[in-house]
Symmetry: C2
Subunit: 516 residues, 2 copies
Amino acid sequence: MKHTYPLGRLLGFVATLGLLLAAGPAASILQQVRQYRQQHEHELLAEYLRLLAIPSVAADSAGLRRTAATIADMMRQRGLTHVQLLRATTPGVPPAVFGEVRVPGATRTLVFYAHYDGQPVNPAQWAPGLSPFKPVLASGSLANGGQLLPLPAPGTPLNPEWRLYARGSSDDKAGVMSILSAYQALAQRGIKPTVNLKFFFEGEEEKGSPHLAELLHQHRDLLKSDLWIICDGPVHQSGRKQVVFGARGDVNVGLTVYGPKRPLHSGHYGNWAPNPALGLAQLLASMKDSTGRVTIAGFYDDVVPLTAAELEAVRRVPAVEADLQRELGFARPDGAGQSLVALINQPSLNINGLRSANVGAQAANVIPTTAEAMLDLRLVLGNDYQRQTEKVVRHLQRQGYFVTRAEPTDAERAQHPRLVRVTPETGYNAQRTPLDSPVARSVVQAVQSTVAQPIVLLPTSGGSLPLYVFKQELGAATLTVPVANYDNNQHAENENIRLGNLWDGIETMAALMTSK
Amino acid sequence: MKHTYPLGRLLGFVATLGLLLAAGPAASILQQVRQYRQQHEHELLAEYLRLLAIPSVAADSAGLRRTAATIADMMRQRGLTHVQLLRATTPGVPPAVFGEVRVPGATRTLVFYAHYDGQPVNPAQWAPGLSPFKPVLASGSLANGGQLLPLPAPGTPLNPEWRLYARGSSDDKAGVMSILSAYQALAQRGIKPTVNLKFFFEGEEEKGSPHLAELLHQHRDLLKSDLWIICDGPVHQSGRKQVVFGARGDVNVGLTVYGPKRPLHSGHYGNWAPNPALGLAQLLASMKDSTGRVTIAGFYDDVVPLTAAELEAVRRVPAVEADLQRELGFARPDGAGQSLVALINQPSLNINGLRSANVGAQAANVIPTTAEAMLDLRLVLGNDYQRQTEKVVRHLQRQGYFVTRAEPTDAERAQHPRLVRVTPETGYNAQRTPLDSPVARSVVQAVQSTVAQPIVLLPTSGGSLPLYVFKQELGAATLTVPVANYDNNQHAENENIRLGNLWDGIETMAALMTSK
């Protein structure tokens, strides 16, 4: 199985192209785009700082509206046509921002996708000097001794190792910025794209894209294309650029275990009143074994196995585990020795957070009334998010719990010794574009044309994107081409982007806009 | 074993006295104290509101200083002598407030103890309209449909069922207030106490009284007495007054389990990077069985069994479990069928709180870096708080964890797959005064003289007080005579006192000050 056709050809091609990189038209376009960026990086940085300073989280709909309006302005300034906000029928839903560039003579159309909303923030958890929507520069990753920097004076070169800290700086305003800047560089240098360009920037991705299907369906004519390029997520941990052929599905499941109706003094009632934090701990402990394998019945059923081509691609992914473990500071990973890339091709169950009463200085000697956990279920091809959630519910029931979707009533409290509330959120399933699909070749070729090192081909991202919706509503194929650094604290406090990744992203997107 | 001597005599006596209550000198003093309170309850309430409005938590040392100064003023206004703030040598420690009343001809001396500091607060968790240090009245318990009330106009009678909501309203400024008001009523009615009175109000009880021993030692001459009356904790759940002969010891143990050094995207790293919230859940689940019995090796060793007299008293405690379960809304208590009073005579392990990353609307799809729990170990006679903590530490080690007292180093992270940090706080051991001790009789008699129903005699409170310190530093005996309602949310949000309990408390304390 060393050289499966057509993956072998594709990968062989990737290798050759790396060597040919020095010269050729691709190179000249690359050089011009790079030169443009070098000459205008201060303006690009200033524009990006303005975009990052606008709060863009689900909890702040006004901030999301301002972000969408700002992006529409950025499109108009770059001469895009048909710039508009695509709205769902439900009022108050953050709009998607659309714009396009029609290229005379072009026969193919690419839609470039990114999202401008970010994960929820808890500002108290951010490092001193950082604030989610007050972007600041640092000399490197703060986790590795980087120091905060003042804004550099105009004219002073920007070090590509510098980091920009803000919510959304990498996930996924970096997508918006690199896509729009790539077109700007081409336009300013008079380089004509080889394909018609459409731009679609979503505002609800971190919420699970509850209205994406509706938007795509409403505007299916406007959004006709040969392929969607999804610019989201990080490049490979090895630092190599990558093309990702799919994404895992995702669904969050909230659990609330109930104790006494009011908090009780742990001295006067300890040993007698049941403690919901213990109940929750027992439930969570019952869901995984010591290697991190999920013990919920049927959890790994329904999975569509990887094709020969996909298995081969997985084998070629550079090993990064040892370096990552050192950097992340733990001695033994879960997964009983399987590689990281093998594990992200399986469904997962993660505890995103725990809360019951208080800890640390705020802790009081009480028996809490409730204990909460948020679970995150990642899905691979074949899993259904509702079926996967039901497996968790049945597991809770097998542990002797009465499962409710609402606050328990007095009657339920009186009848059931163990009560848990389940609050499933909107979810979606996984999607994968075959490695050997025709659309893959020119994309892989374009991305590879920007670097000498062989790029990484990943059958699926460990992260999630609502790719299934594009297939379902438009019959469209999707390929993900990320730009962010892997150590970007995406989804957590201290989110950041490495400037070099933003600049590389501009070159990657420009190459796709001029792909053969 | 139905009538052990001398408990039988004591209990027999209790019954008789109840019937004799109607008349007699005790009754007349009781009537005068009650009448004084009824005529001045608006002033007493106003004074108590001012005391409750001063923040009194360990985190606010300025507030604690103001509280101590205010209490000293209240003592002076009532004509107490030798009023002073007793200070520890360590600067910044909240002082104890002392005052006394020397009674010509009196041969016995009682010290009345209460504490003016309260448990930590998280104002966000308090009910709408409530704030820990903005005391407000309600028509009853908010948990049972009580409604917030405006302050009643002067002259309008105060309903004893009304509740006063504020941190410290029952634990334990209620002790301070009922003790000082009892003396005020006696003094205003010209009733001479039968014993010398000393008053000692501590400011660090909720922190574990780290400087109490030092204070008692420094001032052992000033504090000479025959008995300490500890006014803290609730009356019995049946509503009956009680005399408590001891208290459980207490120690808090904080646990922090470590995951990756930085929060990771749960999609890109889920299944591979170990999740500290799962590790913590597995640890906590390993500590108790399904009946709530602690499974830590040796946890129930060292316990001094109850005497025959104590067992008999335990048998006579009114059963309240069924009513409590209905009120608290759970179907099955821990303890495999043992009574609440039997269970509080055993050591306990409680989870006070859990925290890892975020839940609910703030939850993000991350693998958290740490997961924290705060444990509360209650100790009975025979347990040592350090030995009990060590049993927990050895249990963690038996679960395969490396136990550290500090943030783990890179070397420790690289060497140990499972890391937990243990942060034990100051603790203390249990103390018990024998039911058949000579000091018990007059106290039981005095408290019983205020009510017709037989009072409850409890060998130990489930809650904790640093009683061992009085024995150790002064060789002093202690008896606890509580005043608060049992459903006071002591140690939690929405702490409250039932006005009737405050008024009853004044009568109880006055009876002790005039005891034979």
